[in-house]
């Protein structure tokens, strides 16, 4: 009998010894954060802007695409490439509320209902929340080795940089442009920095508070990343990217000294500008390997959103006409066919057609880019020319006009045909206008124009607010290519619609949150009798 007991005991012992980590938590693919490496992986997976596929307006998963449609860079195609075969383009409808500066961005073209308005808002706050959690978690992970310490600094720096960038993006869409005299009372966006759920109704912080937070984060990022070396690719932020964003933020805050100082730091670190004279035909001026590229995140839907079709969008004449004929950007940035001006800032996918063919845009950009990831973003992109422009602008306001002209002309030299006269010699307000004009040309469709228009209006030195006009076409039916009429919308100088309304879903949920009051958008109707 005793043997039996012995046997049972032996079996039990075998069991217990065999399963020392029997209760160790198991999951197929989920895990806890143990080291900075895990957070580093999470940065790519959940904190940097997702790399969306290039898609048509109706389909794009890019939630910030509307930025290009607010200003004066895009307009609706007056006609399609081929009336007989090309059908109308996919759903411009989604952009209507933004493009025509409606009281609610989701307004549909028949004013009968609303599209979703909070896609951008939700996505950005989602990314901010991941940044909050990474910042919280990086204090908990191991700091034992030197590698760990550097790793934690890197992760912490990038997360602070991203959080700053996201708040900067939000406050410039949903808050008034930074005006040093009113920023303390102007409403910006809610700030949430904690890692846990706050189950409450949020209220908006002031523009000043948001900018202060941005600077706190960026200073932290700068101090962290200055100890970690250069990033592995342009898709990861290093200290230069942080300083770049600092110079841009100070420029927006009209802190010219700091803007110039940080722009100079960026130029020192990354002085190269690509000469367009040396650029091979059909290779595009924007790429990740370009010597100008400092940082990029997110996708680029412009090759698909602009197209030579009915109900498509194209580059506006007013933008195209800014460029001198000697300015190489006029032919390298854009493709021109009859009245159509297309986007060619990135390289075509194939070169099956020649650029003089009316199908060039379709077969080399729209169709092949559909469902593809572009190399660089059309919104979250840092390039060295901008540092020169910031430097020029800041120095001009500071009265150091020589420095301003030098910075400006350094850029222009690389943009004009060899031997042509590129030099700017003006001063005072003319110089500032020349710099603003240069920004418009150099940074066209990089997601900056709308923000620039806003800040020029509150610039203490040379305030200037533009009047914008957009036309929206109506067709016989949803499948017809026959236009019946167009409506003309005007955004007046200093119009309240220079600030986007807070998404209705957010207002609905957060009881008590104040919205931006926009005027009812009126329009004039022009009938077309084709």
């Amino acid at each position: 009998m005793k043997y039996y007991i012995l046997y049972i005991l032996i079996v039990c012992m075998l069991f217990l010894s065999g399963c020392s980590d029997f209760l160790k938590e198991h999951s197929q693919d989920t895990y806890y954060v143990k080291s900075w490496k895990d957070l580093n992986e999470a940065l790519i997976g959940s904190c940097y802007m997702p790399i969306t596929l290039s898609q048509w307006i109706g389909n794009t998963a890019d939630n910030q695409y509307f930025i290009h449609f607010l200003g004066d860079e895009l307009c609706e195609c007056a006609d399609g490439a081929d009336n007989s075969t090309m059908e109308q383009h996919n759903s411009e409808e989604r952009i209507f509320g933004y493009f025509t500066w409606q009281q609610r961005s989701g307004t549909n073209e028949t004013y009968t209902g609303y599209n979703t308005e909070n896609e951008n808002w939700v996505e950005i706050y989602k990314l901010i929340n991941v940044a909050n959690n990474i910042i919280y978690s990086d204090t908990k992970v191991s700091h034992s080795t030197q590698e760990d310490k550097t790793g934690v600094l890197k992760v912490d720096g990038e997360a602070h940089f991203l959080r700053a960038y996201y708040y900067f993006w939000l406050v410039n869409l949903y808050g008034k442009a930074y005006n040093p005299s009113t920023a303390k009372t102007d409403l910006g966006v809610p700030i949430k920095l904690s890692e846990n759920v706050e189950d409450k109704y949020f209220d908006r912080n002031t523009v000043q508070e948001v900018y202060d937070q941005i600077l706190v984060d960026l200073n932290q990022a700068e101090s962290d990343l200055s100890q970690t070396g250069t990033p592995t690719s342009v898709y990861r932020a290093g200290v230069t990217a942080v300083r770049f964003l600092l110079s841009r933020v100070y420029l927006y805050m009209q802190n010219w000294d700091k803007a110039a100082e940080y722009a100079q730091k960026v130029i020192d670190a990354n002085p190269e500008i690509m000469s367009l004279n040396n650029l091979a035909a059909g290779s595009g001026s924007l790429s990740k390997s370009s010597i100008e590229t400092i940082f990029s995140m997110g996708g680029n839907s412009l090759p698909c959103m602009t197209t030579f079709r009915h109900k498509g969008f194209q580059v506006s004449d007013s933008l195209y006409n800014c460029y001198d004929d000697n300015d190489l950007r006029k032919t390298i940035f854009w493709w021109h066919y009859n009245n159509y001006i297309g986007y060619t800032r990135i390289a075509p996918v194939s070169s099956s057609t020649v650029s003089s063919d009316k199908y060039y845009g379709w077969y080399d950009y729209n169709a092949p880019y559909y469902g593809r990831k572009a190399e660089v973003s059309d919104k979250f992109l840092f390039r060295s020319p901008e540092a020169y422009l910031i430097k020029a602008e800041a120095e001009a306001y500071l009265g150091k006009e020589d420095d301003a002209r030098t910075a400006l002309n350094t850029l222009r030299e690389y943009r004009y045909k060899y031997g042509s006269d590129y030099k700017i010699t003006s001063s005072g307000k003319d110089l500032v206008e020349a710099i603003r004009d240069e920004r418009r040309k150099e940074l066209a469709l990089e997601g900056q124009r709308w923000f620039d228009l806003r800040r020029y209006a509150v610039c203490e030195k040379y305030p200037e607010s533009k009047r914008l006009i957009h036309r929206y076409y109506y067709y016989q039916s949803t499948i017809s290519i026959v236009k019946t009429e167009y409506h003309t919308f005007v955004l007046q100088p200093n119009d309240a619609a220079y600030v986007l309304p807070i998404p209705q879903e957010v207002i609905d949920f957060n009881v008590g949150m104040k919205n931006n009051i926009l005027p009812v958008r009126t329009y004039t109707v022009t009938k077309l009798n084709d």
Binding site: E41, G45, G371, V506
Partner: protein, 1163 residues
């Protein structure tokens, strides 16, 4: 010993009791009275029982004179050595004519006893003259037989199973508890009482049989598995299915299905559940554990109740081979069934003709077919007038019998053989089963092989071991999930023919997405598709029991299961489905945007699961006290459980089944869409391991026979990721008690055999997956854009989440009357789930919009009454009548998020609404028909829609929609009758359900998916006969509520084609409806009661007589004829639509009658 067990003190005079007398007693779980009766009868003593004192006296002291004399005479004759003996032989069988081995046979008044042999035979030496033989056997009612003098053969003595005896012991999987000490709520059933011939799985036999357990069959298909809910629903997000336990071991589903899939009332589970591989013939008994006290030992997994199955074991005796055959006939649906209220060709053509004559504008996406097609051809000059008339005449008489084409009357067979027997050392039971179920739906079948063997060894006096082996292979075949032949037959116009005149398939064009049309014939579609499923599984369980002392018993269990499930889905290249992917008809070269340029589609879903369990348990059972009145019973144990599921899922295209099961190779690269699909077609692998290490304990204290209290607790440690079960002890405990009212109040009434009251209270906790106290990441692979490995955030921390807790109270009253001829059990329970998990909406500024909080609360009360009566019981006739009644009252006490549920959820009963039971559904409020055009009118708040602006979804729907009732019944039960007369046995089982509501099948949205233009009449669809009675002219609204068919061209059409809430620019509130036709189908007048009383089963068994059997050396031959689902009494408004089948989703096959013939042979 009697004192210890029963907690009484026994007094006797020492000279009275013969200490040398050794009695053969076969008493197991007997009552005190019975024990004393037996003892005294054998020892010629007499006793009296008062309070807790037993006084034992010599029998003749108070007995009748005659007996004294008799006894004296026998003493005298013994003394005189004149006693003459004779032998009496006989055979003992049970009420199924099965010989009983091991029955104790005594001669009354003597202490001699023999035991029957394997064939039930006994021979006993008795004195001359008439003698009385006493027969006792565990689980059988004792019997005495008078053998007259000179009679040497007592013949066949039938012992009847004691109806009360099934419940004498309760099997909980961890313990066997004497029912008299059972403090919790457990229903025990003998498999013989549950068995429905022709049904191949146990779960399908349970409908209405167990109080407080609701079994719903979502479809009458043979492969579908019913939903089982014990005592209502007590969790919102978690799993609601009970736990299955076979011979003490928890069994798992072959495929891991998520809780929300299983909780969906419209989901039809064809994959099978944990017990699909168990042959009902191998099952001995079933115990359903319902309250907290009963399930506490199983921990959190048992929150929805536990169903414990015990399989058959061998008995000591010569090997007995039994063969069982059941042949079942299932009847297919017919158009003539009252169930199907559909138009025939003539009626359908008449409607078409009427519509055409009214210049009805047909929807643009219609298929041109039937009368509409003929008249179009006539107008366009293709047909002459005579050709047209001929064609129409043909259509009118076409009457395609879709049910005949898609279904057949089927025959299923079920064979099983088992062999059982044993010796003192080894008892065995081994069986082999084969089931071949053929469904009435063509090509749907279920084939199953089962092997089962149970061996029990007695190694020594203190050691016992058993080894069980169970293996099965289950092959199922059913349709691809997007073809539903019954739905098709129901909805397709009978004008359409299936075959051309030359016998080939007739195809019509069916629209696919994107406006393309491809030829379609349902028969071709079925020929070119299938879902095949193969599940194989083997389980081995060994059990070792050691009892070193009488009060101690140690048990070790080891069990291992390995199972494989393989599901294969195929679409052939000739199918319409393949055409839609290909973008061209079969045989036509695919365009370059094709998603499947060549061949068909083959999907493979493999799940391999492996689990083991080891348990060590010690049971202490001791009596204390001066009079041994205290009994303490303790069981403690620990258990290790491990379950691993490995899944692999892949879909392939370019497959040719009939070309040697090969795939197309070298598909040209210009098929960019295909290659894009291929790039995204990544196989998914799932690997899910669950480890549990548990310790549990139970303590029971009984004081005499008066009361019992019991408490249970369990601790589980698990490897569940992210869940906090490792951090805190699981709150699982229960206490319960039992009071024997008869003893406590000293009720002496003769007719009352037992009256006891029991009660239990317990708490169970629950935690859901994916909730974590710190942020978790999910591993991604390589982000090729960054060229780095990446991870995504899987879950953010939810550090303040607490356990979901269910408190439950159970009160039961059990009475047994008239010598146990009538037994009654009433139970009441109240369950309250607090801190129930719910998704709460939060501001999106948090980065996400909802998180799980403990804000839910559900109360769930109910009661049940069940009884068993034996009105007649004698040697010829035995009648057992039993019935049950259960009622559940459940209510949601806390409001979920205001936008948590959509309109469809409200209409379909998936929404959880505060103050309403789970499964409540809503309808539109119908107010009548328009007097001008006969269109349906609803109270949709259009006139006061301003009041709705700004309201949330839940507020809007609660205002506008009306509550129609609940989908699940709140009252259910059964009545069953078993009447035996000589060799005949008749069983009638009826079950009923009350309180559920059902929606009539839709009449205006003609397909289950909803036609693109509701309210329009599509020529390809059949129509409900109700439309014959529709509004046609003003005044009709007085006697019909079926709306008219309104032409698109009609000036009033716009009134119905879109609801104000979906179109109006002024209204900015929540959308209420799309159009009036849809609203009509979902309106309150289309809701009827689903109450029913169903004749679930009638069976008649004939047993061949002993005489005949002996001649041919058989033990038993029995024939059974049975019919299941014979008839349902239900609301007339259902027009025959089965009450369990509602129009919520697709039309499914309702329960069809099954007629079964069975043979049982034993030799």
């Amino acid at each position: 010993m009697v004192e210890r067990q029963a907690g009484v003190s026994i007094t006797y005079q020492s000279n009275v009791v013969n200490r040398k007398l050794r009695l053969h007693l076969s008493l197991y779980n007997a009552t005190l009275e019975r024990a004393l009766n037996e003892i005294c009868e054998q020892a010629e003593l007499e006793y009296s029982l008062r309070d807790n004192y037993v006084l034992i006296r010599k029998k003749h002291e108070v007995h009748a004179e005659r007996k004294v004399v008799e006894s004296q005479q026998s003493q005298i004759s013994q003394l005189a050595q004149e006693v003459r003996y004779r032998t009496v032989k006989g055979v003992v069988v049970d009420d199924k004519e099965q010989p009983l081995a091991g029955v104790s046979v005594f001669v009354a008044g003597e202490h001699r006893c023999v035991i029957t042999d394997d064939s039930g035979n006994f021979v006993i030496r008795v004195k001359e003259g008439p003698v009385k033989l006493m027969l006792t056997y565990i689980g059988m009612r004792g019997r005495s037989v008078l053998v007259r003098s000179g009679n040497e053969n007592a013949g066949e003595i039938v012992l009847h199973e004691d109806a009360s005896k099934v419940g004498e012991v309760v099997v909980t999987g961890y313990q066997q508890i004497d029912r008299r000490n059972l403090t919790s709520s457990v229903t025990s059933m003998n498999m013989d009482d549950l068995m429905i011939p022709g049904v191949s799985s146990l779960d399908q036999m349970l409908q209405g049989r167990i109080p407080d357990m609701i079994v719903t069959n979502s479809s009458g298909e043979i492969n579908s598995v019913p939903n089982i809910r014990i005592r209502g629903t007590s969790t919102l997000i978690g799993n609601r299915e009970p736990l299955w336990v076979v011979d003490g071991v928890i069994v798992n589903n072959p495929v891991n299905l998520s809780a929300d899939v299983l909780n969906d009332p419209d989901y039809i589970n064809r994959i099978g559940n944990a017990i699909s591989g168990l042959n009902p013939q191998d099952i001995d008994r079933l115990d359903v554990l319902k309250d907290a006290a009963a399930t506490a030992l199983y921990g959190t997994r048992a929150a929805n109740g536990v169903i414990v199955i015990t399989t058959k074991k061998g008995r000591v005796g010569k090997p007995i081979v039994a063969y069982n055959f059941n042949g079942s006939f299932r009847r297919r649906p017919y158009y003539t069934d009252n169930k199907i209220n559909l138009m025939n060709s003539k009626e359908r053509t008449e409607i078409s003709r009427e519509l055409v004559s009214q210049h009805y504008e047909f929807p643009s996406d219609m298929t041109s077919i039937g009368y509409e097609d003929a008249i179009q051809k006539y107008y366009s000059g293709v047909y002459t007038e005579s050709e047209f008339k001929k064609q129409v005449a043909k259509y009118e008489t076409q009457n395609t019998d879709w049910f005949k084409l898609l279904c057949h009357n089927s025959f299923s067979a079920d064979h099983s053989v088992n062999i059982s027997g044993g010796t003192d050392k080894l008892r065995y039971y081994a069986s082999l089963g084969y089931t071949n179920d053929d469904d009435v739906i063509n090509n749907n079948s279920n084939e199953r092989y089962t092997v089962n063997s149970n061996m029990d060894f007695t190694l020594s006096k203190n050691f016992q071991a058993s080894l069980n082996l169970n293996a099965y292979s289950n092959k199922k075949k059913y349709n691809q999930s997007n073809i539903n032949p019954i739905d098709y037959a129901y909805n397709t116009s009978r004008v359409i023919h299936a075959y051309n005149d030359n016998g080939t398939y007739y195809y019509y064009n069916k629209e696919a997405s994107g406006g393309y049309n491809y030829k379609y014939n349902i028969l071709n579609e079925l020929d070119n598709s299938y879902t095949k499923q193969n599940v194989t599984s083997i389980t081995a369980t060994s059990n070792l029991r050691y009892h070193p002392a009488e009060w101690l018993n140690i048990e070790g269990v080891l069990s291992y299961t390995n199972s494989n499930a393989n599901i294969e889905g195929w679409w052939g290249e000739k199918s319409w489905y393949a055409s839609t992917l290909r973008g061209s008809e079969d045989g036509v070269t695919a365009p370059n945007w094709s998603d499947m340029p060549y061949g068909g589609e083959l999907s493979h879903n493999t799940t391999h699961s492996e689990s083991y369990m080891a348990r060590l348990q010690a049971n202490f059972n001791k009596y204390f006290g001066s009079n041994k009145q205290h009994n303490i019973n303790i069981a403690i144990g620990s258990e290790v459980n491990s379950t691993r599921y490995n899944g692999f899922n892949i879909e392939n295209r370019g497959y040719y089944l009939d070309r040697g099961e090969k795939f197309a190779i070298s598909i040209p690269t210009n098929y960019t869409a295909y290659y894009q699909w291929l790039a995204g077609n990544i196989p998914t692998i799932t690997d899910n391991i669950t480890h549990l290490l548990s310790a549990y304990g139970t303590l029971t204290y009984s004081y005499k026979n008066y009361f019992t209290i019991n408490s249970n607790t369990r601790y589980d440690g698990s490897n569940k990721f992210g869940s906090r079960s490792n951090e805190k002890i699981l709150p699982v405990w229960s206490i319960s008690g039992l009071v024997d009212l008869r003893n406590v109040f000293n009720i002496k009434t003769k007719w009352l055999n037992n009256l006891s009251l029991k009660s239990s209270y317990g708490e169970q906790g629950n935690m859901i997956d994916g909730q974590t106290s710190e942020m978790t990441l999910s591993k991604g692979t390589v982000n090729t854009y960054y060229n780095e490995l990446y991870s995504t955030v899987s879950a953010f921390a939810n550090p303040y989440l607490k356990w979901e807790k269910t408190h439950s109270l159970n009160v039961g009253l059990e009475a047994s009357l008239f010598n146990n001829r009538f037994m009654l059990l009433c139970e009441y329970y109240a369950k309250r789930t607090t801190n129930a998990f719910m998704n709460k909406n939060i501001s999106d500024i948090n980065g996400y919009t909802s998180y799980v909080v403990n804000s839910g609360s559900i109360s769930n009360n109910g009661y049940n009454v069940s009884f068993t009566a034996v009105p007649i019981s004698n040697s010829n006739i035995n009648w057992i009548l039993s019935g049950s009644f259960s009622k559940v009252i459940d209510k949601m006490d806390a409001a979920p998020g205001v936008d948590a549920y959509s309109l469809d959820d409200y209409l379909n009963g998936n929404a959880i609404v505060k103050g309403k039971p789970v499964s409540t559904f809503y309808s539109y409020k119908f107010v009548g028909l328009d007097t001008e055009d006969g269109g349906p009118l609803f109270d949709d708040w259009e006139d006061r829609c301003t009041e709705l602006i700004g309201l949330s979804k839940s507020d809007t729907y609660n205002k506008v929609l009306v509550v129609s009732g609940r989908r699940d019944p709140d009252i259910s039960g059964s009545i069953s009758n078993t009447l035996s007369y000589k060799s005949w046995r008749l069983g009638v089982m009826m079950n009923y359900s009350l309180g559920a509501k059902v929606r009539l099948f839709r009449i205006y949205s003609q397909t289950s998916s909803g036609s693109s233009t509701p309210g329009c009449i599509y020529p390809e669809y059949n129509l409900n006969r109700a439309l014959l009675n529709r509004w046609k002219k003003p005044g009709d609204e007085l006697h019909t509520n079926i709306p008219s068919i309104i032409n698109k061209e009609d000036v009033n059409y716009y009134k119905y084609s879109s609801n104000y809430s979906s179109e109006s620019s002024e209204y900015s509130g929540v959308k209420i409806a799309d159009n009036s036709w849809n609203m009509y189908d979902y309106s309150d007048i289309r809701v009827v009661s689903a109450d029913y009383l169903r004749i679930a089963n009638v069976s008649l068994t004939y047993e061949l007589s002993r005489k005949f059997l002996d001649k041919y050396k058989f033990h038993r031959i029995a024939f059974t004829l049975s019919g299941s689902n014979l008839y349902s009494f239900c609301a007339r408004a259902l027009k025959g639509q089965t009450p369990t089948q509602s129009g919520f989703a697709e039309v499914q096959l309702s329960d069809t009658p099954i007629y079964t013939f069975g043979v049982n042979l034993e030799f």
